[in-house]
């Protein structure tokens, strides 16, 4: 009996189990508090939120907005990866390009992009184009920075030893620079994904004439917290899922680090 109790305790003490238990406990507390609260409007219990989530899945308008957001994300991330890699390779290609161009990249990176969000809408309109452009403008910088870092931090010992064995420039790139770049590139993609998500969601929420921003504003103004919680939860889960995908890819490609 005692052994069973101990093994149950050990099971509960495992981090993953504890994390789940913690989340479930928080939801239960929230549910109880919401049911006993006098003002249910402001404490949507999880049961109500889950019910609302079901309804949202049936709402064609909401689903269309979510799907649009997803493909905006995909497109801006793809553009950020392609251009980030190209610019990063260009900047990191040599000591000269690095010293000349990298400070310019950092200068551009330092401008708080959120301040120019209205400009994106002004230039690209309130539709998907401005969101893709804004997401791209967020995602490209971490990718550039990490690609440059990957290219500029190849240990000199490896290069010296390769040249001592007679390696040509192409061989050094293929066997040393490129494999050394791969993990940094994936780190850049992970950070770029986080940034792209932020950019796309920021612009989605900013434009309230359509898309997700329309629904968040609608639910806020018409006081529908269940729906707002459900939509927020959906977006948050989407973000967690996408982050996890790129994080796994990063781990898989940087085993040697």
């Amino acid at each position: 009996m005692n052994a069973t109790a101990a093994s149950i305790l050990r099971f509960l003490a495992r981090p993953v189990v504890s994390q789940l238990a913690f989340v479930i406990l928080a939801m239960l507390l929230w549910e109880v508090a919401a049911r006993h609260s006098t003002d249910e409007l402001f404490t949507s219990p999880p049961s109500a939120v889950f019910a609302a989530a079901g309804d949202l899945f049936d709402d064609k308008g909401v689903m269309r907005a979510v799907v649009t957001t997803l493909w905006e994300l995909g497109l801006s991330f793809l553009l950020a990866v392609v251009f980030g890699l190209a610019v990063g390779v260009g900047v990191g290609a040599s000591g000269m390009t690095y010293r000349s161009l990298y400070p310019i990249i950092l200068l551009a990176y330092a401008i708080p992009q959120i301040t120019i969000l209205p400009l994106f809408v002004l230039y690209f309109g309130p539709g998907p184009a401005s969101k893709v452009a804004f997401g791209f403008s967020h995602g490209i910088f971490p990718i550039i920075v990490n690609v440059v870092a990957g290219l500029r931090t190849v240990p000199t010992g490896l290069l010296r030893s390769a040249y001592s064995m007679g390696a040509t420039k192409q061989q050094v790139f293929r066997r040393i620079t490129f494999p050394h770049l791969v993990p940094s590139f994936f780190t850049g993609m992970r950070l770029g994904m986080t940034a792209t998500l932020l950019g796309v969601l920021l612009s989605e929420l900013y434009v309230s004439s359509g898309g997700i921003g329309y629904y968040t504003e609608l639910y806020t103004e018409s006081f529908e917290p269940h729906n707002l919680f459900a939509l927020t939860g959906m977006l948050a889960l989407m973000a967690v899922f996408l982050n996890e995908v790129v994080r796994r890819a990063e781990i898989r490609h940087s085993r040697w680090r």
């Binding site: 010992g157 010296r160 030893s161 040249y163 001592s164 066997r175 791969v182 680090r257």
Partner: protein, 277 residues
């Protein structure tokens, strides 16, 4: 240094090599090497020993064709060296220069690929080289899964696999613990007895120099020049017995006597803030 009357064939000849670091600004000049001339005979193990910063590694890089001195030159078999010569010279560095993303076997094969060995030959040769350092069971391991000593054995196997006449070793055991170094030294001596490669070996360790070298070149403090060349007349393979002989202790002590003043000189120099970084 007196002209050598030795009749053995000379493999490496260093002629009046001089080097000054510091680029265009004469105020920042540091003389590193002071007209060094030297011969390395075929099949011999020559150790370079000297205080930190005396330029012994710089000289090794000149011989390896990795570095062009301000004046003077080095020749291999009578041919001046201007760039790395992978067909004749293999290098072994102090730090591990194994590719962390490649397995032990792949690391050796990449070296052969760099050297221009045809693809089908690479794997069999790499396996043979691994066997000579007794690491055939670790072919599929990654460098990070190996101890420091094993990593350096892989580096040695890689250098040996290139099949060069000359091996240049830049403090290859410096980051290993003493026991590992001693075992490594014995293995290397064993290898010298059987393969007769021409080796130039940079070290900080007196015992290592006496144990391994056929001749030891003692460097002065910066600017480095050769103070004395000491001959260690003991056939390879040398075993632990050699280390306990009186002769070993005497040789080690006389080597230290040669070095002592130079080390003090180098230490005094280091207390003055250096003008180069």
């Amino acid at each position: 240094m007196a002209a050598d009357s030795d009749s053995r064939p000379v493999t490496i000849r260093v002629e009046a090599v001089e080097h000054t670091f510091g680029g265009d600004d004469p105020a920042h000049h540091v003389r590193a090497l002071d007209r060094i001339s030297l011969e390395v005979f075929h099949g011999e193990m020559l150790c370079l020993i000297g205080p930190s910063g005396c330029g012994k590694s710089t000289l090794l890089n000149v011989i390896g064709g990795m570095f062009t001195p301000s004046s003077g030159r080095a020749l291999i078999d009578g041919e001046p060296i201007t760039r790395p010569m992978p067909a004749k010279i293999a290098y072994m560095f102090q730090e591990s220069t194994l590719l962390p993303w490649a397995t032990v076997l792949e690391n050796i094969m990449v070296g052969l690929e760099f050297q221009g060995v045809a693809k089908p030959e690479r794997e069999p040769r790499a396996r043979v080289a691994l066997a000579t350092v007794n690491l055939q069971d670790f072919a599929a391991h990654f460098p990070d899964q190996l101890s420091g000593g094993m990593k350096q054995r892989v580096s040695l196997a890689r250098a040996l696999s290139l099949g060069t006449e000359i091996l240049l070793m830049d403090e290859p055991f410096a980051s290993l613990d003493e026991q590992t170094r001693m075992v490594f030294g014995e293995d290397l001596s064993q290898m010298l007895a059987t393969t007769r490669k021409t080796i130039v070996f940079v070290t900080h360790s007196l015992a290592e120099a006496v144990f391994l070298a056929d001749r030891v070149a003692v460097f002065t403090a910066r600017p480095g020049s050769i103070k004395e060349i000491m001959t260690i007349d003991e056939p390879h393979p040398r075993g632990p017995d050699f280390m306990t002989t009186d002769r070993f202790a005497r040789l080690r002590n006389s080597l230290y006597a040669q070095l002592r003043d130079e080390i003090r000189k180098a230490m005094r120099e280091q207390q003055v803030p250096s003008t180069i970084d």
